[in-house]
Structures are given as C-alpha cells and as structure tokens.
C-alpha cells in the first residue's frame, strides 16, 4: 500500500506563514486596480479618462458602457478570490495560531474591509455574510449594500480592538504599507471607517453621529501625507507600477477627458502638466468627451502618472482632509463650520497638488488666489459643497474607481459633480452607475439578485 501513498505534491505547502498570503493578496489586488480591467475600464465609464474614440481601437468599447465581461469577471475574482480569500485564509491561520497572532489578523481584516468596500461600491449588493465559506455556503447569498457596509464598520472595529501594540506577532517585513507600525494601522482603520460613513450618510443620516465622533479626534485617523495608504512601486524590472507596464513609456492611447480639462484648464490648475502630456507643438491641454475621436492635438495621459515608480494610492491624507472639509461644510455630526471647512479644504487642495509634485510656487499662488480656488466662506453652502466635490473628483483623476464612487455620492441623480453626459454613440438612456454582476457568478450562483442589476441601476447609497 505504501507504493500508492505518493499523492502529496512536493511543490506546495499545507501550512504557510500568513504574511505570505497577505503579500500575494495585496499585490494581486493593487495590480488589478491599476490594470486594463479596473483602471482603464472604470476610467472610461466614469469619464476620468478618455479613450479618444475611434482614434484608438485599443481599449474596446467600455466607454460605450459595453464593459468587457472579462474585466467585470477578473475584478470580481480579485475581490473574492485572489485578494479576498487569501486574506481570509491569513486571518484564519493567524487566529488559529497559538498564541493567537492578533495583529496579523487585524492587518488582514483592515485590508479586507477596503476590498469589500470597493467591491460593494462597484457591484452593489454582494455576498459578504456567506462569502468565503464554500463548504457551508456553496452559493453565497447577496447581502444588501447597507448590511455589507455596516458589517465592514464592525469588521474594522473588531480589527481595532484586536490590535495589540505590545505584541511582536504581526506582519512587519511584508507590511508594504506601514512596516508593522500598528498605531498607523489603527489610524488607517478609523480612516476607512470615516470614508465608509461618508458614503453611507446621504442615504442613512443616522451615520452623522459616528462621523462626528471620528471628527472629534482627527488624529485617530491618518493625519499627515506621510501616513497616506499607498503601494510603492520601483523602477526595478517587473516591479514597476502596473500602469507603466501597460504602456511602457510609449503613447498610452489614453487621452485627457474633456470633463476634467473643463475643470482644470480655466484656472490653469498646477496639476495639469503632471496629469497630462501635451502633444508636440501644443500649448493648451485639450480633452475629448467620451468616445469622441481624439486627434494629434489632444492631450494624452501624463507620463508622470505612468512613471515606473509612481505609487498607487489607496487612501490619501488629502482625500481625508477634503472629506472632513465636506463634513464641516455640511454639518455632518458636527455643527456647520465654514471656517474649519475652508481651512481643511485649502490644506487638502495644497496637499493634493503637493502629492502630485506640482510646481510649489504655482501651488501656493493657486490656493491663495480666490479667483482660482474660491474661499468657501464667501460662497453659499451649496456652492461651497460643490467646490469641495470638484476638488475631490479632480484629486481622484488617477484613481478612477474612487472617482466613480465620489461622483455617485456627490449629489442626487442629475446633480452629481461634475455633470456627466452620455458618451457619443452610447446606448441612449441613463448614465452608467456600476459594473454589472460577474459572469462567473451569474453562471454559477443561483442566489444572484433577480432581476440582475443593469449597468444603470443605482445602488443603495446612490441617491
């Protein structure tokens, strides 16, 4: 019988250190976010980027709301399998260890919360309570987006409670974000909570109280640009930013969207030369509307953003500052405080421009010129909030997934900031508001929502 006992693969392991799974999960996730599946497709549908229409046949028809099923399926697989499940496995191993490796579990939970947040804001209702348990739930049910978001807040609280700063058991060398500094992880968890609450608060005003609590101790969240949550890339071969790998320093076939040049060009935003490259002989940044043909004068996506060592931002300090400015301007959990809002707004825009290495003198001049960056205290509440939303969206240009969420939450249907219009030649009807469900799910899971959401169906948080 021993002769037959050879069914053990010599090339795989039945036990691993959770950091190895964490390492794979965060890499697979970040690469996907910056790939043709997520970055390109969502950039076009959310109009952060422009395909340049027929000028380039490179990117398919996602700008016509005809997103490749591969992109929809691959992105889903990252959230639930390549990313999500490896984090789940790491959590299980850490929590089953003796002694329990609480910090590692917390680190993985915080990242998992962000993954699930991204999944629900892109796909709407998703499996969460029954996900990752194939034996118990071979066909996970879909939870309402509200319940998913509530669960993520709980998961983050659980992670915060689990963090034990005194323990040496944690992911440190493989912690590409904070090198095992658990105090920063705690701040990150609170920051994600804040962001989730800001997405929920329009639909569920009771979330204002929790926002107020977090605002009362802003230092419990990311409190400097140095603490921005990002993935670093290097100039080393095959370790470059995935966007660089997409284009390899060549013509990216991806153009400035007219929506964003309309916002940036009139004020000569100092980020323009960072965001875009001017074609030879051009002096103005010309963007094109969705699916309209670009020509040799159209500004192309900037080589600065596509440089090999460009970091991939997941949650930035400037983003948080602008969200806090919004909370004060709207009085979410705090009294309306335009002065406080203005200070945060100005600092947020400064930090955003500085992050993208805009010319410092131009940044200072810009933020201090009220004809370019209006002083919120001089505006009506509505206009002030709109200015914040504009800056939030412009800051997120290189992060299409976040920009798309920002646009949806920036106002009720028809009043979003900025106003988008139906792409040329797109199916007449409403604007796109989500990815449809993954074809891998719809073909294998009888518990998918029925009817399946269409691309223009709004999700719970989207008014």
């Amino acid at each position: 019988k021993k002769y037959l006992d050879i069914n053990t693969n010599p090339l795989t392991a039945t036990k691993v250190d959770p950091k190895l799974l964490f390492g794979y999960a965060v890499t697979a996730w970040d690469v996907s976010k910056n790939s043709g599946d997520s970055y390109i497709s969502i950039g076009f549908i959310g109009q952060s980027l422009s395909s340049g229409g027929d000028f380039s046949q490179n990117w398919g028809a996602s700008n016509l709301y005809n997103v490749s099923p591969l992109s929809i399926g691959n992105t889903w697989k990252v959230y639930f399998s390549n990313g999500g499940n490896n984090l789940q496995q790491a959590i299980s191993i850490a929590q089953a260890a003796s002694p329990v490796n609480n910090n590692t579990a917390a680190q993985c939970k915080i990242v998992l919360a962000q993954l699930m947040y991204e999944a629900t804001t892109l796909y709407g209702d998703i499996p969460y309570s029954q996900a990752f348990q194939p034996d118990k739930y071979p066909y996970p049910k879909y939870d309402a987006q509200k319940d998913v978001l509530e669960s993520l807040l709980k998961l983050l609280d659980e992670a915060i409670a689990q963090i034990d700063p005194t323990s040496v058991l944690k992911i440190s060398d493989y912690d590409i974000y904070y090198g095992g500094d658990m105090s920063k992880w705690k701040k990150l968890a609170n920051s994600i909570k804040f962001k989730i609450l800001m997405v929920m608060v329009d639909k569920d005003p009771t979330k204002a109280a929790a926002i107020g609590t977090l605002l009362s101790t802003p230092d419990a969240m990311i409190s400097s640009s140095a603490e921005t949550w990002l993935t670093k890339y290097t100039t080393g071969t095959n370790n470059q930013n995935p966007k660089y790998r997409l284009f390899l320093g060549q013509n990216p076939f991806t153009y400035a969207s007219k929506v964003i040049t309309d916002l940036m060009v009139p004020t000569n935003d100092p980020r323009l030369p960072q965001y875009f490259d001017l074609p030879a002989g051009q002096t103005t940044y010309i963007g094109v509307p969705a699916n309209v043909d670009a020509d040799e004068k159209t500004a192309i996506l900037g080589s600065y953003l596509l440089r090999p060592d460009a970091p991939s931002v997941i949650l930035s300090y400037q983003e948080l500052e602008l969200l806090q400015a919004e909370a004060y301007a709207r009085g979410l959990g705090v009294g309306v405080n335009m002065t406080k809002a203005e200070a945060l707004f100005k600092q947020g825009v400064t930090d955003a421009m500085t992050f993208y290495q805009a010319n410092p003198a131009a940044v200072t001049a810009y933020v201090n010129d009220p004809t370019k960056l209006p002083n919120l205290t001089s505006l009506s509440a509505t206009d002030a909030i709109k200015q914040i939303h504009i800056q939030q969206w412009v800051d997120l240009m290189d992060r299409p997934l976040e920009a798309f969420v920002q646009w949806k939450r920036s106002g009720p249907d028809g009043s979003e900031v900025p106003a988008l219009t139906l792409p040329k030649d797109a199916t007449p009807g409403p604007l796109i508001r989500r990815y449809t469900l993954s074809p891998d799910e719809t073909s294998a899971n009888p518990n998918i929502p029925k009817p399946q959401p269409t691309y223009y169906d709004k999700m719970w948080f989207d008014l």
Binding site: T12, T14, Y24, V31, P127, Q133, I176, L246, Q250, P428
Partner: protein, 1018 residues
C-alpha cells in the same frame, strides 16, 4: 503409404512467396513450414488433406498431390480476420462481442500525413479526427464515440503493449497560444503494421480507467521470415493554404471613409490612386504615395510548403528469429515563412524463439524532432502572425514589409503604423520564432514462456520517455513586448508499464467447448516534470540567455501517479458460433482518497455467428452473419494532488493587457508569495463510473460483395470527476466534485460494396456513418449550466442539462415571429448575452471511400462529411469589424437597413433605420455578438486522393528488385462545401487536449497537400 508433396506458397496481394507458412496434415500434428522462398516439402499418407495456415491470411485446405501450390488470401478481406484487442491479445474477429475497427499499414501510408492520426480521418465510423491548425507539426485531436467527460478527452494509445503518452500543448485564449503538436504525431506511419480502434467500454475493459475515452492499439511491423528484404518508401509533398479569406480591394485604411494612417483596417476612403501619407516606415522616405490596392498581399505572404517523407527498412527472419530495422525521416518546410520541422525515427523490432517454450521480443524506437517557427495564435496578441497578416490594410504591399523589417540605421523594427501599432509579420517570423525539440524513446520487452501447451506466461515491460524543450522568443522591440522576453520550457515525461499475463487454454475439457482464462496484473507509473523559466527585459538584443535578462522567474511542475491493476478474462466458445467473454479488473490508484482508491469493474460480451448455424441450409446469399452484444462498467481516477488543501508558491500576478508575468515576486519587500488554491480540493472523491452497453451485427452477402457492420451503443458516465466552476464569492474559481452524468448514445455503420469485380478490374466502395447523441443528464442539484472552456468576451463552451455541450455567448434577440430585434436609434441588432448558440458537435459524420483497381493501377478517393454543429470564427469577426472582408466592400455609399423589427411601445414594427457599412459590420463582427461570427460547422471535404501504379513484376524479374510502386497522393484537396466564410471550419483553438472545440481565433490556415510517392521493395 506416404508420398512426398512439394509446392510453393505465395501471397495473393503481392504475388510474392511467403516463408514460414505452416503446412499440416489435417487431423494430425505432423507438418512443415515453408522456407525463405516459400517452398515446402512434406511426406504425407495418401488421401490426406493439407492445411496451410499463416497469421494474417486465410487458412486453406487442399488434397495432397505431388505438387500442391497454394495462393493465400490476406485475412483482412475475409472472415477469419485477426484483431489485436486489449493487452495485445490477438483474436479472431468473429469471437468478439464488441465493435472494433482496424486500419492496416496501407491505410496509413497511402497519402500519408506526417501526423499519423490525420491518416485515420474519415476512415473509421465513430472516430473523429481534427487537425487543430495549419501549424507545421501541429496537433490533432481524436474523439472516439463522443466526449465522455467535462474535463478532457484522451483515448489511450498503446504501442506493442506499452501505454504511451499523447500529451499536447494547451490551447486557449492565452496570450501566446502556440501549437506544439501532440506526442502521437511523433510516430512514423511506415513502422505501423496495424492500428485497432477499440471504441466501447467492453472493448477496453481490461485497460480499465485509462481507456475511458477508447483505445488505439498500435502494432509495429515485424521482419518477415525469409530472405533479407529492403523496403523504401519515399514521398515529396507540397502544401499551400486550403482556405484563405476573401478580401475587399476597394477601400483604404481610415475611419468612416476618411483616410488615416494610424489605422490598420479598411474603413477609409475608396482607393482611387489618390496621394496620401502612407505608413511612413516602409515607403523609403517618400511618404506621399498614391493609394493602390494589393489584392494578393495576404496570399503572397504564404509560401509553398515542401516536405520530404522517407523511410527505409531492412528486415528478415528465419524459424527462430526475425528482425526489422527502420529509419524514417520527415523534413518539412511550412507555408509560413521560416517554419520548419525535421523528424527522424529509428525503430527496431526483433523476436527470438529460444526454444519451443521460451520466446522474446523487443520493439523500440527513438525519435528526434526539431522544429522552428511555430507561430503564435491568439485572440488579441500583437505577436499572432495571422492577425498581423490578415489585418493588413489592402493598400499595403507585402513585399514592402518584407524588404523593410528593420530600420537599417536605428536597428528598430519598422512598425506598420506610427505609434508602434502592429508588428511587421516578417519581424514576427524572422525573430519571434517559437521552436521545440523532442527526444523520445519508447521500448517494450516481452518474454513468453509456455511450460505446457495450454499455459502461456508472458510479461511485457516497457517505458516511454521523452524530453521536450520549448522556446518562445519575443525580440526586443516587438510591439506589445518592447523590452523583449523569452520563455524556455524543459519537459520530462516518463511512463513505465508492466503487464504480467497468464493464459490457460483448454479446448478438450468439454465437448464442443473452448475455454480460455487469462489472469494478469498491471503496474503503471507516470511522471511529469516541467521547468519553465520566463526571462524579461533583455539588455543585448537577440541574446537569449538568462543573465542577459533583467529578471527571470522559474516555475517548476511535478506530477507522479501510480496505478496497480489485477484483471481476469474468461472466454468460452461453443462450437464455432457462440462466444462469451467475462472480464473483471480491480484498480488501485494513488490519486484518489485511500478509502476509495480501490475500484472494480466488470464486463460481459458475447457473439453469435448465426451464419454458421445456417450453413448448408440454403442461405447461400448470406456469406456471414453475426450478432454481438456487450455490457461494461468502468471506473476512472483523476489527476494527482487534488485532495489536500495546499498553498502554492506564486511568482507572478495577472495584469490585464500585459500578461501573467507583468509583476513578478519579489515585489518590494515581499520576497515570496503564496496563494490559496483557486480550485477547492475535495478529500471525499469517488471514482468516476461509466456504464455502457452496445449491440451490433456484421453481415456479409453475395460472396462478400456486400458487407454491413452496424452498432448501437449507449453509455452513461456518472460521478464525473470534474472541476466545477463555483461562484467566485466562495473564494474559489472551481471545486472538484463527483457530479454530473453524461450520456452518449449513437449508431455506427459501415457498408462495404464491391459493385464490380472482374479479373483485372475491381471497384470497392466503403461508406461509414456515425451519429452520436450526447446529453448532459445531470449537473449539481440546482445548477443547470456550467462552463467547460472559455473563449473571449463572453464566448463559453458550456454544459446544460438536457443538451450536448454547446457554444454559448451573445445572441441576436428575436421577436416572437423570429425576426431580429433592431434598436431603432442605432439601427443595430439587439443582443442578449449568455445564450446557447448550438451544439459544438456534429449531428452526424461520414466517410465515402472509393477504390478502383485495374491491373497494377489503383485509384482511391476519400470524402469526409460532417453535418451540423456550430463553429465560431474569430478570424471572420476580425475581418468584418476591420472592414477588410470582401462582404464589407462594394458600394459603401449605400446605407444598410438591417432586416428586422423595432420594438416600439410594446409593438414590433419593421426597422427603417439606415446605417453605414462600417457601423453595420463593426457590430455584426463584434466579439460581443458571438452569434455574428457563428456558422454551421458542417462541411464536405475531399480528404484524400491517391493514384498508384504497381509496375509489373516481370519488368524486373531477373533483378534483385521485388516490386516498385509509384503514386500521386493528395490530402485535404478540396473543401467541397462549407458554411463558414474565409476559414476552414475544422480549425480549433482550444487545442487537442481540451473538451472545447468549434472555436477559432486567428488560427494558422489548414493546408492542402499534393505529393508523389515511390515505393521499392528489394
């Protein structure tokens, strides 16, 4: 009183003397054998009858006389045909209770193909052969009686008792899908004596689990007893593409009728000789050139393929020994420039009888293959050659490309269009050549001991060992892979097999009964190891060594599995007309859970030769009649290492539009990464189980002028061991389960007719027909549909309960009365995703073989027919969306009003929206609309024509030459009927190892071959 009888025994087929023929006095054991010149001498009592017998020939009885010359007729035309069955047991065909088909040497070497499997196409009912692409040395898929499992189809191949590998490179939509061939293509057809196809489970029951998809039993040629003989078979053949697309030649590149040299398409203005900025890179510094169409620019890319296939064999033997040594070569140049393949095979087969009791035989071969220039085929890869050639704007002169591959000053590739759009096809073939080399040994050694006449003990030990090296190169400066990269594979495969057999034969225990009991044991081990190294970012151009790469990653693969089997077979024959076989086998496999790794399966088969009973009862018109029936149950295992939950080291992550190797670990501080399995393992798996039965009859009428063989079969395979897709929200892509039932049932019929048979002229017709109905009876409870293979943009091969495996994807929506629903605003057809578009399998297949013989002349033709099924062509899709296909041309000023209806306020009204050709064809051809590029897969093909002339032997009677035959042969000559425009409907993209078929994406066109052949026997 004895008299001395002498004589010569010759063969009817070639008129040559046969050495080693047994001549016996009927009713005794006294006898003699013919010598090297076919002569014998025997002293016999008067009034005796002599019996002449020789394997492969019909025994004949003659009354003794002074001189008795005998002509033996080959058994293949006769009733007492000998068939090689499982475990290389030779049996008389009439005793077998299941259907089998045998192809003889001449079936395979007539119009021979470099891949011997292709020579089977259209010749055996129920066996489907598909050449996958026109790649030189490309792979061939064989399906016997329909696909039995969701996760692959691979008949068992056995050469002289040794189970051998038919591994193949995987196909699919991967970025660099290269057809590296299948390992059965390594065989030299000149060394094959016969190939027997065992189709059903009863036929293969003794092979057990491994022959679930049928078995092909190959016997190699042995030396004939007699003088030293030499056979030479030499062919030279010429290939060209069987089908090339039809292009429009009226419109230049551009968009909506406006010229643009940034485009590789045909949507620009009408070509009228106007002066434009052509692609600047290959117009020798004068960019303003008049627009001219080059109608032959695709045709001119392909060259005439030339191949020489040669074989020389030496053989001989005497009473005690025989030997045959054969050397084969195939030297080929393909239709794609720079593609070449050289194959050399040395084969030896030698036997020795040490005594009456002990004998042994060795047969083995060594094969060496070196091939270069295997092109990449792919859905959307800039290195795919067909994409690059077919996609040329009509205004591009292929010779300009050929002469301007590299900028002489900068050394940089001359891209087609500015902005590194599109690789020059000559760059791809000159520099990005994929090559492989194979070294393969197979050998078996058999030792047979007969302690007493009724007991035979035999052991067959063999091994099949090969190494294959593959190299895929992307030179620095290739669009899509600018920094350059290369991948090298080292594959090692070893299979060791041993069968021990004890046979007990008793014909005198009970009157009129014959018994044969066979018991045996089998040990099989299969081992595979792969070492893949991907190297990226090359420093020195065209230097493909790891230290020249900025980074490289190595991936190891390892698989080892073992199988032990014990089996028995009891055969009982009653008189000459009733036969029964009962078999049983128990397997123990290393790949299943310990509790379920042992499994048993039985089979029963029987035959009744009713013509024997009716003999002498006035049924003279019936020459032969037999009924047969069988039932079998067969279990099978799965691949190794699928039971435990294991974390795999992972060196790369996937990046859409770049490839799997875009980001490689170590990534920053993450030195190594591990990942949970994507396929959820299952530690409670059971063996897969097939239950099948078949009935059949063989009938021959009018002195064998009419022959009919008919079979009905039915099989049910349950507990399918399948990797079933699960919702990714479980954390996994797939899970291995025992689930699903596939049923295959069908009929096979072969009709032989000899309408004319004169002294010098004979006309033979052979018609074969097969119809298989596949039905997925069951999947998992609650699941009615799941994917077995995926293509591109929503195209899937799926299993659906109640249906055969089918093609699924975007379908044009239709109104209740069947008209296309057209969007009134865009004027384009509305599409619904995820719809069944048809079965990937044929309704039926057939072959029609005609042979005429007149004296030394013979002419034969084979027509291969497939009816029904669907086929998706990515090539057609691309040609239409890019406005290059002929149908997109014509007068484009005429707007198109697609015939259909608009759905307006719940009512269907005729569509009136007019759209231009570009919008219409871009939508029809879009990969989103799978249906737009789906066609009926049926075809009629003139598969083979062969004309041969056997020179009269009197011409060289006095010389050492024994025979000369010259011939002209052709393969895949004419696609008589096809429903698919632009490409051959037989192309397949998924590769021969996949269940997926009926889908093509930029596949290399299949080839038409014409050749000449010379055979000389010395």
């Amino acid at each position: 009183q004895n008299r001395t009888v002498t004589g010569t025994v010759t063969a009817k087929d070639d008129g040559l003397p046969i050495p080693g023929v047994t001549v016996k006095i009927k009713g005794t054991t006294t006898g003699a054998q013919t010598n090297a010149t076919g002569k014998y001498t025997l002293s016999v009592p008067t009034g005796s009858t002599l019996v002449f017998s020789f394997i492969g020939y019909v025994s004949i009885e003659k009354p003794a006389a002074d001189v008795v010359n005998v002509v033996l007729v080959p058994a293949s035309n006769q009733l007492n045909e000998v068939v090689v069955t499982a475990l290389n047991i030779s049996r008389e065909a009439k005793t077998i209770g299941y259907s089998s088909s045998t192809l003889k040497s001449e079936d395979l070497t007539k119009a021979r193909d470099a891949n011997v499997l292709n020579s089977m196409a259209g010749k055996v009912a129920g066996v489907r052969i598909n050449s996958q692409s026109g790649t030189l040395g490309g792979s061939t898929k064989i399906v016997i009686r329909g696909v039995n499992s969701f996760n692959g189809n691979s008949p068992l191949f056995v050469i002289d008792g040794l189970t051998v590998s038919d591994n193949t490179s995987s196909g699919g939509t991967v970025a660099n899908n290269v057809d590296f061939g299948n390992r059965m293509g390594d065989l030299s057809s000149d060394d094959i004596e016969s190939m027997t196809v065992l189709k059903g489970a009863a036929a293969t029951a003794l092979y057990g689990s491994r022959a679930l998809d049928g078995a092909v039993i190959i016997t190699t040629k042995k030396g004939k007893k007699g003088t030293f003989s030499v056979d030479i078979n030499s062919s030279v053949r010429f290939d060209n593409p069987l089908v090339l697309p039809k292009f429009q030649n009226e419109y230049a590149q551009g968009n909506q009728g406006v010229y643009a040299n940034t485009q590789l398409n045909g949507w620009g203005p009408k070509i009228t000789g106007q002066s434009v900025n052509q692609f600047p890179n290959f117009t020798a510094g004068s960019p303003q050139t008049p627009l001219v169409a080059y109608p032959d620019n695709v045709k001119d890319f392909f060259q005439t393929g030339v191949s020489a296939i040669n074989n020389i064999s030496f053989g001989g033997g005497d009473e005690k020994s025989d030997y045959r040594v054969s050397f084969s070569s195939a030297n080929e140049k393909g239709i794609i420039p720079e593609s070449s393949l050289d194959r050399y095979t040395l084969a030896v087969n030698t036997g020795r009888n040490f005594s009456d009791k002990l004998s042994s035989r060795f047969s083995g071969s060594y094969t060496n293959i070196v091939s270069d220039g295997r092109p990449a085929q792919s859905a959307n890869n800039q290195n795919a050659i067909i994409n690059s050639v077919y996609g040329l704007p009509r205004t591009v002169d292929i010779n300009a490309l050929k002469n301007n591959v590299v900028d002489p000053v900068t050394g940089v590739q001359q891209f087609l269009a500015p902005g590194r759009l599109g690789n020059n096809p000559y760059w791809i073939m000159d520099y990005n050549r994929n090559s492989n080399s194979v070294d393969r040994f197979t050998g078996t050694y058999n030792l047979t001991y007969k302690p007493v006449t009724w007991v035979t003990l035999s052991n067959t030990f063999g091994a099949d060992i090969y190494t294959e090296k593959r190299s895929l190169i992307l030179r620095k400066g290739t669009a899509g892979y600018l920094p350059g990269q290369f991948t090298k594979y080292d594959l090692l495969s070893k299979q060791v097999n041993d069968d021990f057999l004890a046979t007990f034969e008793q014909n005198n225990l009970v009157k009129d009964f014959k018994f044969k009991l066979l018991v045996g044991g089998n040990i099989n081990q299969r081992f595979n190891q792969t070492n893949q190294v991907d190297a990226f970012n090359l420093t020195i151009d065209q230097l493909y060594t790891y230290s020249n790469a900025a980074s490289s990653t190595a991936t190891l693969g390892y698989q080892k599995r073992r199988l032990l089997g014990l089996y028995g077979d009891l055969s009982i024959g009653y008189k000459d007309y009733l036969f029964l076989d009962v078999t049983g086998r128990n397997d123990w496999t290393s790949t299943l859970p310990v509790d379920s790794r042992s499994y048993f399966y039985p089979s029963v088969s029987g035959s009744f030769v009713f013509s024997e009973v009716l003999k002498d009862k006035g049924f003279d018109w019936l020459s032969f009649g037999k009924l047969r029936a069988s039932w079998a149950s067969v279990g099978s295992d799965l691949g190794p290492y699928q039971l435990d939950y294991q974390y795999s080291p992972t060196s790369t992550v996937f990046l859409q539009y770049v490839d799997a190797n875009a980001i490689v670990f170590p990534a920053g501080p993450i030195a190594t990464a591990f990942a949970a399995p994507r396929t959820l393992p299952n530690s409670t798996l059971k063996p897969q189980k097939e239950n099948s039965y078949e009935f059949g009859t063989e009938l021959k009428f009018l002195n064998n002028r009419i022959g009919l063989d008919f079979t009905y079969y039915h099989s049910n395979i349950k507990n399918q061991l399948i990797s079933i897709t699960v919702p990714p929200s479980t954390g996994y892509f797939a899970k291995v389960v025992n689930a699903g039932v596939i049923q295959n049932s069908g009929i096979e019929a072969t009709l032989n007719l000899v309408p004319v048979k004169l002294k010098d002229f004979e006309w033979n017709i052979n018609v074969n027909f097969a119809k298989n109905n596949q039905k997925v009876k069951e999947l998992l409870p609650g699941l009615n549909l799941y994917s077995v293979a995926s293509g591109y943009s929503g195209l899937l091969i799926q299993a659906e309960v109640g249906q055969s495996l089918g093609l699924y994807g975007g379908q044009f929506s239709r109104s209740p009365d069947g008209q296309y629903i057209i969007d009134p605003t865009s004027g384009l057809r509305v599409v619904t995703q995820g719809k069944r578009l048809g079965s990937i399998y044929a309704d039926w297949t057939g072959g029609l073989n005609n042979t005429f013989r007149y004296k030394g002349f013979s002419l034969s033709s084979l027509i291969d027919i497939r009816k029904g099924g669907v086929f998706f062509s990515g090539t057609v899709s691309g040609l239409r969306t890019s406005g290059l296909a002929a149908e997109t041309g014509g007068d484009r000023s005429q707007l198109i009003v697609d015939k259909g209806v608009n759905l307006v306020n719940g009512a269907y009204v005729p569509n009136t929206k007019a759209i231009n050709a570009q919008n219409y064809w871009s939508w029809i051809g879009s990969t989103t609309n799978t249906e737009g590029s789906v066609f009926d897969a049926g075809f009629i093909k003139l598969r083979e024509v062969q004309f041969a002339y056997q020179l009269p032997s009197k011409l060289f009677k006095a010389s050492f030459v024994k025979g000369i035959q010259i011939g002209v042969e052709g393969r895949n000559l004419w696609l008589i009927k096809s429903h698919v425009p632009h490409v051959d409907p037989e192309l397949n993209f998924f590769g021969s190892g996949s269940v997926g078929e009926g889908v093509e994406f930029n596949s290399i066109p299949s080839t038409r071959t014409i050749g000449m052949n010379l055979r000389v026997s010395l």
